[in-house]
Amino acid sequence: MNNMTEPLLRLNAVRYRYPGASSDALAGVSLSVGPGDFHAVIGPNGSGKTTLVRVALGALAPLAGSADIDGRPASRWPRQALARLVGVVPQREDNLFPQRVRETVLLGRYAHLSLWGRERPEDHAAVMRALTACDAQHLVERWVWTLSGGEYQRVRVARALAQEPRLLVLDEPAVSLDLQHEMGLFELIRGLVDTQGLGVLMITHDLNLAARFADSLLLLEGGRPIASGPPADVLTQQTVETVFSWPVRMETVDGRPQMIPLRQPKESRA
């Protein structure tokens, strides 16, 4: 962790339940992401990870507790101002119309444009900077539908970077990417944190990569926080086996815990 600046994103004992649901989607979750923090949220399916992002970004209002961005309640932020601060790469997006990479990344500049104003040279420059930071500048004139999965994800991250945010939020960005592209994406995010001082909140199901690259983890189960802190504190064998209901063996790589799932479903010790 770094100096005591106002955290970019802070959740404080947040509680949320979807209308008509029988139980809370989030119960008493706290989280803090500052500049230069790489914070990963992990947990089994349905543990409330995407809900957490929505509440953190003001798309949903918490029933209890607070969700603040840069010291202000997330739901009170005007949309465009928020987009200048936080870049989001959601799990899914549609591709209704064929577009070039340049055009789709340019959409990230919306928050910086005035209503009737045209795109300015600085907007195009921001697009190229963002693509370069994602090592995707060579794709700029390609049609989006010709990109591979890995290339497309980089372009999406570039779009979020084009917003020139201080905080980057990614929801399962490496799903359906192969090993090379998955590693490449995590390296990219780590690099952005280290070189540009971005704060990052990433939802991921990949425990090992989260442990390797992130500074802090938050483990959720059923909407409740099970453990949070440095990866070594969160990813213990006992915790993982309890939460994920599967026997594992823990290893250490680069000083970070890595879990290896075992084959027998019965209880066994490493």
Partner: protein, 313 residues
């Protein structure tokens, strides 16, 4: 340059529409002719304004519901307008503006109902609900209209269906003035929403995170597109295909960025309807075809060609 070409085509269409018609007016006398000034000129302008309104409304609507097959008349407005018109005739409402005002009121009523449906369950104008609701309300209104027509004993009511088919025969300078005063506001709302509509193509959640006030944009685009369509139906009945086909034609040349697409759809729609109306008036002169028939006859082959392009691409 494509804009120069489009504007040239539009101007030519307007000039041709004024110069050509079943009443043979020699070119030299065009400027002095009563028929040209009092009948053809307002009719040409109205065709342009109505066609343009339908074109831009269609483009906005297709972006809003994220469905390239959306047509302004899927919103239930034509059913509502027809019902209003038939009620006006059945109740013998008098006055030269009774029919358009009643049709407009009917369209607004349908709009309000569909809008209300779109808000059910906090759905905040879910595109699927808008489309389904529009079809349902439109069908419901059409059913009531048919019932009234079959129960009433005025054969005039049967002729109301002819009006519904679409026609610019009631064009007058008054009508042109009304549209000129009315249309700019919804058009401006649509054009102002150009960038948010581009964002919306990624999906509502991504658009929101990029900074668009998605709920407000959806509301505004829906209302603006509907109000334009309601006015078009009120003055000229249901003219199909313009709102559906023109945005696609415009996309072929101008792409999907709405800052260019929306104005192109307006000018293109206006030119198309002016041409269609000229054909409706001259092809079987002295008889006249309903212009909705001509737009369908032009629109269907064009649409088929477009479909082939999509499947090949």
């Amino acid at each position: 340059m494509k804009w120069a070409l489009l504007v040239t085509v539009a101007v030519l269409a307007l000039v041709a529409s004024v110069a050509v018609g079943p009443a043979a007016v020699p070119l030299g006398e065009l400027l002095r002719s009563d028929i040209v000034w009092n009948l053809r000129a307002p009719r040409t302008l109205l065709a342009f304004l109505v066609g343009g309104s339908l074109g831009i409304a269609g483009a906005g609507l297709q972006a809003l519901v994220r469905n390239p097959l959306a047509d302004p008349f899927l919103l239930g407005l034509s059913g509502g307008a027809g019902l209003g018109a038939v009620l006006a005739i059945a109740l013998h409402l008098s006055g030269p503006w009774a029919l358009p005002l009643a049709a407009f009121a009917g369209a607004l009523a349908a709009l309000a109902l569909v809008y209300r449906l779109g808000l059910i369950g906090g759905a905040a104008l879910d595109p699927r609900i808008l489309l389904l609701g529009g079809v349902a309300i439109g069908a419901f209104a059409a059913a009531i209209t048919t019932a009234i027509v079959s129960l009433a004993d005025a054969s005039e009511l049967r002729n109301a269906f002819l009006w519904l088919w679409g026609g610019l025969s009631s064009a007058s300078w008054d009508a042109v003035l009304v549209i000129v005063l009315y249309a700019p506001i919804p058009i401006a709302v649509l054009v102002a929403a150009s960038r948010p509509l581009d964002l919306l193509a990624l999906g509502e959640e991504p658009a929101r995170y990029l900074g668009a006030d998605v709920d407000a944009v959806k509301r505004r685009v829906y209302l603006a597109a509907s109000l334009l369509t309601a006015a078009a139906v009120a003055v000229s009945g249901v003219i199909g295909f313009v709102g559906l086909v023109v945005p696609h034609l415009a996309r072929l040349t101008w792409g999907h960025r709405h800052r260019a697409l929306l104005p192109a759809a307006f000018v293109g729609g206006g030119a198309l309807l002016a041409i269609a109306d000229t054909m409706a008036r001259t092809v079987v002169a002295p008889r006249e075809l309903p212009v909705g028939v001509v737009t369908a006859l032009i629109g269907v082959p064009v649409f088929t060609l477009l479909l082939r392009r999509w499947t090949i691409a």
